[in-house]
């Protein structure tokens, strides 16, 4: 029998290392984790940095300017939100191929409510969310209760919803939401500069408070907690990008300042932030989140532990489709209209790609909401940068495909490493 390596290595990495060794031991732990196949956000962050550097060198004037930076955010918002929903579905080892057209269909309902019916914008958005939830409920019932593989159910829905979308907006037609300023504002307008700064500072302060408070409570309860230096490092790692991005977004970026002034943090960033924090809380701090990971890790174990597996699945499909509907709002808002292509074309594939590039495993049980954000940014940077380089869409597709393959390979390799080193 092979000796269990864990017991042997129990002596090293003992928590009693002094404060000077604390950072070192935390770093060493991290390196061990990454080498063991638990890379977390590292590949996505590195990939993002490499892409940004490459495009900045190739197109220094256009890629790095502030207008393009805010463009990037607007372009990636919808894919990020749809990908957030897919994380819930992928965590269970399921797939939602209909997420793209769920976004389109829900957006069409919103457009019709807001224009043809003339209802207030918030009723339109409510209608959109309900549409998403109902689609998710339908998919979830077929998958969780009837036991049809999600691949087949959502493939059928992919085709079916495409038809529903066409039916709603009329063959070849479009629904323009240009009149509905509130809906347009969602993915086009910016916050006043001061408000942006207040939100940025509040975000950093809240993160710092939560991190430090948890550590204090754990220590008070006699439990281990990372040393203060490491906590401080984590806070700095969050604070620097948030504040830097806010600063960059707060400068004037209008190409024609005399006509219109464009500055401030985009409204959509606030929505993304709320979703990121809220959904991360749901996944990591609630019993429901724990059950989602459990079902993804070992559905039979979850069932024997008394978890209602089909309920968890159903809920995840509803969450996924509702988030897709929110993505639909952002798509419609960005394009000022809903067309038969809204949520079609590559939307779904970009969203799945975003989740996987960010580090969510296709093999279920591993993934976080932040993955969707990082992966969505990687994809947006590729599309945006290639566009600026005047590359034809043929090249863009090929490069995006290659990046997705690389991400899937990283996933598969880290899974193998995890298996061989006993992590998963």
């Amino acid at each position: 029998m092979t000796a269990p390596p864990v017991e042997a290595s129990a002596a090293e990495g003992s928590p009693s290392a002094g404060p000077s060794g604390a950072v070192g031991s935390a770093m060493r732990d991290y390196v061990v984790r990454v080498r063991g196949g638990d890379a977390g956000s590292l590949p996505a962050v590195l990939g993002l940095l490499v892409l940004v550097v490459v495009f900045s060198v190739l197109k220094p004037s256009t890629f790095t300017n502030a207008l393009n930076f805010s463009n990037l955010i607007h372009q990636s918002a919808a894919v990020i939100v749809i990908a957030m929903g897919l994380v819930f579905v992928l965590l269970l080892g399921e797939i939602d191929l209909a997420a793209g057209y769920t976004a389109g269909t829900a957006a069409a309902v919103m457009g019709i409510f807001a224009t043809q019916r003339g209802w207030p914008w918030w009723v339109a958005i409510l209608g959109c969310l309900v549409t998403g939830a109902v689609i998710g409920l339908f998919i979830g019932l077929l998958v969780a209760r009837l036991g049809i593989p999600s691949f087949v159910v959502t493939l059928a829905m992919f085709l079916g919803l495409q038809g529903v979308l066409l039916k709603l907006i009329g063959e070849g037609g479009t629904v323009s939401i240009r009149e509905s300023t509130e809906l347009i504002a969602i993915n086009n307008e910016d916050l006043p500069v001061t408000l942006g700064w207040i939100l940025a500072v509040l975000t950093v302060a809240a993160y710092a408070y939560v991190t430090l408070r948890r550590a204090t409570l754990r220590r008070a309860g006699g439990l281990q907690s990372p040393p203060n230096v490491v906590l401080l490092g984590k806070i700095v790692l969050v604070a620097v990008p948030v504040l830097a991005a806010t600063a960059y977004l707060s400068i004037e970026r209008s190409p024609r300042v005399d006509r219109v002034s464009i500055k401030g943090v985009p409204v959509v960033v606030v929505i993304l932030l709320v979703l990121l924090v809220g959904l991360s809380f749901l996944l990591t701090r609630t019993a429901f989140g724990s059950h989602v990971y459990a079902v993804g890790g070992n559905a039979e174990a979850a069932r024997r532990a008394g978890i209602n597996v089909s309920q968890v699945k159903l809920t995840c499909f509803v969450i996924g489709a509702t988030l897709a509907a929110i993505g639909g709002i952002m798509l419609a808002s960005r394009n000022n209209s809903i067309s038969p292509n809204t949520g079609g074309a590559s939307t779904l594939l970009y969203a799945v790609g975003a989740a996987v590039i960010g580090g969510t495993s296709l093999f279920s049980g591993k993934g976080r909401v932040i993955d969707a954000v990082l992966g969505g940014l990687v994809i947006a940077v590729i599309i945006n940068g290639m566009g600026l380089l005047n590359q034809p869409s043929s090249t863009v597709y090929m490069v995006t495909g290659a990046v997705l393959l690389v991400a899937a390979s990283v996933d598969a390799i880290s899974r193998r490493r995890a298996a061989s080193t006993g992590r998963l």
């Binding site: 029998m1 864990v6 017991e7 409570l217 281990q224 019993a287 890790g297 070992n298 039979e300 024997r304």
Partner: protein
């Protein structure tokens, strides 16, 4: 029945009432009568080994105890009170926990989350991680488990023995009264088997009623106080380990009786494995053959 007398004697000797009593349990799956009038007593502070050949009904018996596949008929008594257990939650509520052979742990979760799987402690809707971690540490310490480096390790990184330890710890974290272990040492090496058996003994020493299912008579004779032998869906004997030899247990497992202990001959006939046998001669009956002459 032999078993009842046996249990009665034992009860008189130890002076403790059984925590769990099954009487005349029957269970069928379609036409297959898997459990036929089975009796079982589980005493607190004792390890009751449940042995029997493949297909003898061991798994069916524990699934019935756990409420996964409820019994068709029979008396299920817990702490002297008749109870009905038709789903796992009811069994858990009574304090009955089952540790399954195929572990039923989630590899992608850490030890704490596995211990509290499905019964997470929450505080205002949020997971109470601190309390869960403290109780997990206490439980492992209470079982004298020292091989686990951190309760925040993912279960995937544990050795087979450690995983079994976590699975067993999960069964005791809820102040359980009866723990059923389904072949806990089946996939373990020598040292790890030893470690798990010690843990099993410790559970009983802490006052729990332990049911140990095992194919390994070494394990049985090492930790068990009582051995219950199932033979083709009937309880052949429930006797004190001190009163039987290893060979007698083997005989009980393979033929249902050994000398004075075990199923009576009349019972044996009733439990004949092929009840269709008497019908066979009819096919070869010359009279019926005559009947089909053209």
């Amino acid at each position: 029945m032999t078993t009842t007398t046996e249990s009665a004697t034992q009860q008189a000797v130890s002076g403790v009432a059984p925590v769990l009593t099954l009487r005349d349990i029957n269970k069928s799956f379609g036409p297959v009568h898997v459990l036929q009038g089975v009796d079982l007593d589980v005493y607190p502070g004792q390890v009751t080994a449940l042995v029997g050949d493949n297909g003898a009904g061991k798994s069916t018996l524990i699934k019935g105890i756990a409420g996964i596949h409820p019994f068709d008929s029979g008396d299920y008594t817990f702490d002297g009170v008749p109870v009905t257990v038709t789903n796992p939650k009811q069994a858990n509520a009574l304090g009955i926990e089952v540790v399954y052979q195929d572990l039923a742990l989630c590899d992608n979760l850490d030890i704490v989350h596995n211990l509290f799987l499905g019964r997470e402690l929450t505080h205002g809707g949020r997971l109470d991680e601190a309390t869960m971690e403290r109780r997990a540490t206490e439980t492992l310490a209470g079982l004298s488990v020292r091989t686990v480096r951190s309760v925040r390790q993912h279960v995937a990184s544990l050795s087979g023995g450690q995983r079994q330890t976590v699975a067993i710890a999960r069964s005791v974290i809820w102040n359980s009264r009866v723990v059923v272990l389904d072949e806990p040492t089946a996939a373990l090496g020598v040292a790890q088997t030893e470690q798990v058996l010690k843990l099993v003994r410790r559970l009983a020493d802490n006052g729990l009623g332990v049911v140990l299912i095992s194919h390994n008579l070494n394990d049985v004779f090492e930790v068990a106080d009582t051995v219950a032998v199932l033979y083709l869906g009937r309880m052949a004997a429930e006797v004190s380990v001190a009163d039987v030899t290893r060979n007698q247990v083997v005989e009980l497992i393979t033929s249902g009786r050994s000398g004075q202990i075990g199923l009576q001959t009349t019972d044996d006939a009733a439990a004949a494995p092929l009840p269709e046998l008497p019908a066979l001669p009819a096919l070869g009956d010359p009279t019926s053959a005559d009947g089909v002459t053209p």
